[in-house]
Symmetry: C2
Subunit: 169 residues, 2 copies
């Protein structure tokens, strides 16, 4: 086994901040949506995704991949959204296997009513906090992280490897 | 109410990536620690924090603030760590109110044994994915976000406000 490359003090500081963001930002988004719209942030994401799809419907398996959730987590959530009247499940037309989640008219109306306050919070917590340059940097950084976080577990191609001492700082 | 400032297409793209990171990164960290060390990432953070404190102990209330968790979430976690033999709770010495979490010798040994694999994963998923410049940018970006995410809910000072069209990009 290779010797552990411990984090430097500077890396440690960045990592502690990143961990705090990973904890506090989702909690803040969930809190607002639960108070104002009886939705988790995960639930809001599912409704928003369905609203943008032609026919306002998606196979459950596709939906799980798109919102980066497991099938069981999504299934639990969609059951709840169904009881709230915002989504209904139908059998998939084409092969009779699997099921499809459909956004109801009530679900669309609820999403439309919830969106302004949610977007205002995202803008206030994230986009208003950053300069346009930082927003662009965050786009590059998150793309680089996602290349290693793909739900398929794929390794990044060699060309996307970075972080060698030679490429700047 | 002000008209909604919807996200631009570019902002929307950055936000979708950020949301994917917020979902996938904690899941990956939790998965490794649960498989290899029977710890959640939150539990690992608590053991690590105690290990760095003189006397390897902290008041529960301080600990909750330091790991950005609610008192009830921390209390639940520490109960579990106590059953695992890695932490014990004691009454606070000074005023007899509240309680203190203490890292046990077994907890310290477990943390020391778990750290190399965890740090290797953090390095591989985060620091090896970014250039040194991007690590520095991530440090600035997370600091700016945390100024608005403080658990005390404090507003950032006017001097830290950014995001006007005039400051770059």
């Amino acid at each position: 086994m290779e010797p552990t490359r411990w984090l430097s003090d500077g890396e440690q500081e960045v990592w502690q901040r990143m961990l705090a963001v990973l904890t506090l930002l989702p909690a803040e988004l969930d809190g607002q949506l639960q108070r104002d719209a009886d939705l988790t942030h995960f639930g809001y994401g599912v409704l928003a995704l369905l609203s943008e799809t032609p026919g306002r419907s998606r196979r459950m398996s596709e939906l799980a991949a798109l919102v980066n959730g497991s099938q069981s987590r999504l299934s639990h959530l969609v059951g709840r959204l169904e009881r709230q009247g915002w989504v209904r499940r139908e059998r998939a037309d084409d092969d009779g296997r699997g099921s499809v989640a459909v956004l109801t008219d009530a679900g669309y109306a609820h999403l439309a009513a919830s969106a302004p306050a949610h977007v205002a919070l995202v803008r206030s917590l994230v986009f208003d906090a950053l300069t346009p340059t930082q927003v662009a940097q965050l786009g590059e950084i998150t793309a680089a992280l996602l290349a290693r976080l793909s739900p398929t577990g794929g390794c990044p191609a060699p060309a996307s490897r970075r972080g060698s001492a030679s490429d700047g700082s």
